[in-house]
Amino acid sequence: MKATEIIFYVLTAITLLSASFVVTARNPVHSVLALILTFFCLTGHYVLMNAQFLAAVNIIVYAGAIMVLFLFTIMFLNLQKEDEESKTTLTKMAAVVVGGVLLVVMVAVFRAASVAPYDPATYNTRVGLVESLGMVLYKDYLLPFELASVLFLVAMVGAVMLGKREPGDRHF
């Protein structure tokens, strides 16, 4: 077994463990911290695939910004006491149905999708580097990329509008 394989298996094990801890943890803060650990392991996988840019962006955006905000909100909520009684049978049923549908969709997609076999001889190791990624984004996928950025802009404007204090609002 090569060193990278060992790293891969260790990383995968930690990823799966922490991902399941996200779901099972009673304390929401522990859950979020486990999720952050999961993101770290995913970053490790990106690095193993030589996708350095993606790895860095994953850390900066997900672990560094979004999860900080998650943690921020959860710390404010003060969920120390058990709030289990709010989960009625109906919500549990709905959750099971939604989760099941998602599982079916995922399985269907993975069955239908054909992943091209990996050939070490012709594989371009530089495909994940930022230069090649930029070329692909700005040449082959220019329109979707720009549309996504417009979408983000709209979301940002919407967030600002929602957060803006209106004349009648209470100051607190």
């Binding site: 803060v29 911290l33 952050i36 350095q52 840019f53 860095a56 962006v57 850390i59 900066i60 672990a63 560094g64 910004a65 900080v68 905000l69 943690l71 921020f72 710390m75 404010f76 580097l129 930022v130 230069e131």
Partner: protein, 384 residues
């Protein structure tokens, strides 16, 4: 990679690690000295000559204090907090190019922990993780003041990361690379240093670096007048020491990043002349290594200047109020940095290197005009 290269590389990494720790250690001494001198005092001068053994005495004190864990605290997270803080602080110096290269037995080895082509993003990512140490520690203390400190740290870091990133983007546009080594290589001659081509970006980056390091005037997470001690209220002994140490390491790393991004890294004026003279007189290998050494010394001089600047500002300015902090970050720095990116883009399009001076000039003119038009503030002596 053969064995010699590996050995030299590991020596470089170990030296960088050690130097980071030693500089952080002596920053605590320097901070107290600078504070003393600025307040017309002498600072620590009892432990050893000029108080040089003071960091050791401090460390000894830290180690022998009671290592206290509050009974209601979350024990593991309470311990993990300071570890995370110091881990993330130490990680970021890995990609900073501290010198040109060392030649040894026909090998050319760059003086840098690792050269990756997304260097600045790596630094940025690690810095953005630095807040976890504070947040986890602050939450795990199970103390309202600690929690408030942690939350302040989180919101402050996220807010200033945006402006910081946008300031960097202007540089990336000019250099065309994310690698710190190519950014340094792009500033070879004195007038192409990014501080001259990106003056506004420099000021924004510097401000954001202060905010990211939680240094005065942005040290609201540990604001003792409001929050007792902020996120480290409950910490004692070496756990507290780790938090304080992490702050100084962060200071060193951000000084290094500022020198690398804006002040030409290991470049200095007439570097090529010095390099040629050295290689001419001492031979290709020795001369080159000596020139590299001079470059490293120059870089460290720049770093020390910025560490001094951090302290200088700390002992000059009072702390911002929280709403002022947020207003400055979101309403001034982010729009300014976006404007900077746009103007830099125009400059690149029409091949004007010093385009962002335009913003500076316009701002200065506006400021002068507005202060000239404003009614003179009459200072009336109060009557009894």
């Amino acid at each position: 990679m053969n064995l010699t290269e590996l050995i030299i590389k590991s020596i470089i990494i170990l030296v960088i690690f050690g130097v980071t720790l030693v500089i952080a250690m002596y920053s605590t001494w320097a901070e107290r000295k600078v504070a003393g001198f600025m307040q017309d005092r002498l600072g620590p001068n009892r432990a050893g000559p000029f108080g040089l053994l003071q960091p050791l005495a401090d460390a000894g004190k830290m180690f022998f204090k009671e290592d206290f864990i509050p009974s209601q605290a979350n024990k593991w997270l309470f311990i993990i907090g300071p570890c995370l803080a110091i881990l993330t602080a130490l990680m970021s110096s890995a990609v900073i190019p501290f010198g040109d290269s060392i030649r040894y037995e026909g090998l050319t080895i760059p003086v840098q922990g690792v050269e990756i082509n997304i260097g600045i993003l790596y630094v940025f990512g690690v810095v953005s993780l630095g807040v976890y140490g504070i947040m986890v520690g602050g939450w795990a203390s199970n103390n309202k003041f600690s929690l408030l400190g942690a939350i302040r740290a989180a919101s402050q870091n996220i807010s200033y990361e945006i402006a910081m990133g946008l300031a960097i983007i202007a540089i990336l546009m000019m250099t065309g690379s994310l690698s710190l080594r190519s950014i340094v290589a792009g500033q070879e001659s004195f007038l192409t240093w990014n501080v001259f081509t990106q003056p506004l970006g420099f000021i924004i980056f510097l401000t954001c670096a202060f905010a990211e390091c939680n240094r005065t005037p942005f040290d609201l997470p540990e604001c003792e007048t409001e929050l007792v001690g902020g996120y480290h209220t409950e910490y004692s002994s070496m756990k507290l020491g780790f938090y304080l140490f992490a702050e100084y390491i962060n200071m060193f790393v951000s000084s290094a990043v500022i020198s690398t991004l804006y002040f030409g890294g290991y470049h200095y004026p007439f570097m090529n002349t010095v390099h040629n003279a050295l290689t001419g007189s001492l031979g290709e290998v020795t001369g080159h290594n000596l020139a590299t050494l001079i470059g490293m010394l120059v870089l460290f001089a720049k770093i020390f200047f910025f560490i001094f600047f951090f302290m200088w500002v700390r002992w000059t300015l009072p702390r911002f109020r929280y709403d002022q902090l947020m207003n400055l970050g979101w309403k001034s720095l982010i729009p300014l940095s976006i404007l900077n990116v746009v103007v830099t883009g125009f400059g690149l399009l029409y091949d004007i290197e010093y385009a962002s001076w335009l913003i500076v000039i316009v701002m200065v003119v506006l400021a002068v005009m507005s202060s000239a038009r404003a009614p003179k503030r009459v200072v009336q002596p109060q009557r009894s």
